[in-house]
């Protein structure tokens, strides 16, 4: 049940087709990864005609399940050369699901330089010429399309970086206020969309909760239960709403895992100046918001609206961005973080990769560490496609190659997020082994390593990290397939009633009898599929590793090294 919107850009035809039976119990990441595995030759050029961009709401998306509107975007990554799934909040997932669309597949490549947008509504799908939108930033494109098609639409779009095929380009969609800032950021999927000359996908419906549910009464009871689980947990119930994700800045700094000055130390004296506490203070004082939802039906409200001195707003500023464009660059100015964040959103860049690239450039002496204005000027070159701009848009590994820097924090070609693997070893295992590359959400060991959520595993010791990362990678693959915001995991890890409530919702919606074991099997299957794609794409065990300097160099303040070896890392996927 449900439809696939297949857009062939070689023939320039958009058509709706029936979802094959074999995909009926897949959604979100499970569906994007399976379709990529089934339809994309693993050895293809990610920017060529044989790659596909696959977009899918999750299994629960479009229902009244709380915090269930995540949108998965998948394909072969131009950054890692392997399979990629990136997901975002915003309004589009629930709108697609409400239209009965289980996946959007963009394939082929047009023979001319013309740009198009795809528009889908209850009436069907159209491919519409859109040369007038080419070259425009995502904020303008979103405003134009909301004006043209109505305030109720979802706009999935790319910035000039994606149009110019930069490997750091992401895919964004809007929140309820029209901010084009909810990014499926990692791995260059914006360039894949750009390579197919699709500038935007407009999802035209005002519905967010229109997905079909088989047993409405059972579903409602389970959803109520799950909402209760989220509300009563201190993190999901009030913590995230109070300060947002940037509340992590101070605790990651205090445990000495905050990558500072391009991953040379784990402590930044001025971390509190770019922390969640500071952000909330400034945002509220300037008439913005410290509490905000990125999607309808979210009960965790972790987002924020940060007014900038120039009158624009950056919504949200997340921890990863505040770290990557803050302590990683020795920048302690939150307004500079916001400005850099806004440019990334508009030009269409992944903020984590951008921060890593800028950090490498600073190490190379191209820009001074701590010079926020210089960072802004450099980032403004991306849109102008100067050589430096193109280097930034190509990511941290490229920047390192061009400027002769070996101290590049990346795994499988993707820049590392805001937790150093030497002081947060569980995350180090995830970075090294995830099919996604250096990805923190793929197996967020920070939970047990730093936040004492779901137990405690000492972040400075190698013990227990492989098991921790394995279990989290499996669980995350399942949550990513349900369309649930990953932050529900805080409740799931600590409250034994939360996972059964999720399973009860799935069973009521699809008429199933799933158990917790089935959820584990789903997560394992997603990982197996992704690893097999990567193997066929040329990845070997040697790619499940971290750059040498993490193993060789002691990392202050705790002076530890990443000491989990290849043999132990090879145990992560022993299922």
């Amino acid at each position: 049940m449900g439809k696939i919107l297949r857009v062939n850009m070689s023939d320039r035809v958009a058509r709706l087709e029936e979802l094959p039976e074999k995909y009926s119990l897949l959604g979100g990441r499970a569906l994007t990864s399976q379709i990529v595995f089934d339809e994309v030759p693993p050895d293809c050029n990610p920017l060529g005609p044989f790659n596909k961009l696959v977009i899918a709401p999750g299994l629960l998306s479009g229902t009244t399940a709380p915090s269930s509107g995540r949108l998965s975007v998948g394909g072969k990554s131009p950054l890692t050369g392997g399979i990629k799934e990136a997901n975002a909040g915003g309004v589009s997932s629930q709108k697609l699901a409400s239209l009965g669309i289980k996946a959007v597949i963009i394939e082929g490549r047009p023979s001319t330089d013309d740009w198009y947008l795809v528009k889908v509504s209850a009436a069907g799908a159209d491919l519409i010429p859109a040369n007038d939108l080419a070259g425009k930033g995502t904020y303008e494109v979103t405003a134009v399309l909301l004006e043209r098609y109505g305030k109720e639409v979802g706009v999935i779009t790319i910035g000039p970086a994606g149009e110019m095929l930069m490997a750091t380009a992401g895919v964004t969609n809007n929140d309820n206020e029209g901010n084009s800032s909810r990014y499926a950021g990692r791995g260059g999927l914006g360039a894949v969309m750009g390579s197919k000359h699709v500038k935007a996908i407009v999802v035209d419906t005002g519905e967010h909760f229109g997905a079909r549910v088989k047993d409405v009464e059972q579903f409602r009871a389970a959803a109520r239960k799950f909402t209760e689980c989220l509300r009563k947990h201190p993190i999901t119930g009030s913590g995230l709403a109070a300060y947002g994700t940037d509340i992590l800045m101070n605790i990651v700094n205090e445990v000495g895992a905050l990558p500072t000055r391009n991953f040379h130390s784990g402590h930044f004296d001025q971390a509190r100046e770019v922390s969640g506490e500071k952000l909330a203070e400034v945002a509220v004082a300037r008439g913005g918001k410290a509490t905000h939802s990125c999607m309808p039906g979210c009960v965790m409200h972790c987002s924020n609206i940060y007014p900038m001195p120039d009158g624009k707003v950056c919504a949200p500023i997340e921890y990863e961005t505040a770290w990557a464009l803050g302590p990683n660059l020795e920048n302690a100015n939150l307004d500079i973080v916001a400005k850099l964040n806004y440019i990334c959103n508009d030009v269409g860049l992944d903020t984590i990769e951008t921060g890593c690239a800028l950090g490498v450039l600073m190490e190379a002496g191209v820009l001074p560490f701590g010079d926020g204005e210089a960072a802004v000027k450099a980032l403004e070159e991306v849109e102008k496609a100067t050589p430096l701009g193109r280097i930034i848009g190509s990511g941290s590994v490229c920047a390192g190659k061009v400027f002769g820097i070996t101290h590049v924090p990346a795994a499988k070609g993707q820049g590392m997020p805001g937790y150093d693997p030497r002081a947060c070893k569980g995350n180090g295992v995830t970075y090294a082994t995830s099919p996604m590359g250096a990805d923190h959400t793929a197996g967020y060991a920070v939970t047990a390593n730093i936040l004492r959520s779901g137990g405690y595993v000492d972040p400075l010791k190698p013990d227990g990290q492989v098991e921790l990362s394995r279990n989290l990678q499996i669980a995350t693959a399942a949550i990513d397939s349900a369309g649930l915001c990953l932050f529900v995991a805080f409740a799931v890890l600590d409250d034994p009633e939360a996972l059964p409530a999720i399973i009860a919702m799935l069973n009521a919606q699809y008429g199933l009898q799933m158990t917790a074991e089935d959820v584990t099997k789903l997560g394992q299957q997603v990982l197996r599929t992704e690893r097999e794609f990567n193997r066929l794409a040329g990845f070997t065990g040697a790619d499940d590793s971290l750059p040498e300097f993490f193993v060789l160099e002691e990392f202050p303040p705790h002076n530890t090294r990443f000491d989990i070896d290849a043999k132990e890392l090879s145990q992560v996927f022993n299922f």
Binding site: L240, A242, Y243, L248, N250, H267, E277
Partner: protein, 79 residues
């Protein structure tokens, strides 16, 4: 002996005049535990989820030493 305390994530509202992340110098007795320190600062035990001493997780019965840097947090999450 002298130690330094930092509070975060709203705990600062429990200490008059405190700012998040700003070091509060304190003089404590030999053998003082983190739990005793919380009492001294009148911070209710149940409001503190994470206690760090010199960047490492400890429990409330951890005994403080000269020059220790104590960091206190409520329940925190993010990604």
């Amino acid at each position: 002996m002298d130690v330094e305390v930092r509070v975060f994530g709203g705990l600062e509202s429990l200490i008059p005049g405190a700012r998040f992340g700003q070091g509060i110098p304190l003089e404590v007795q030999e053998g003082c535990s983190v739990g005793l320190l919380l009492n001294r600062l009148a911070i209710p035990r149940e409001k503190v989820f994470t206690m760090l001493v010199n960047g490492c997780h400890v429990t409330a019965d951890a005994i403080l030493k000269e020059g220790d840097r104590i960091s206190l947090f409520p329940a925190i999450g993010g990604g």
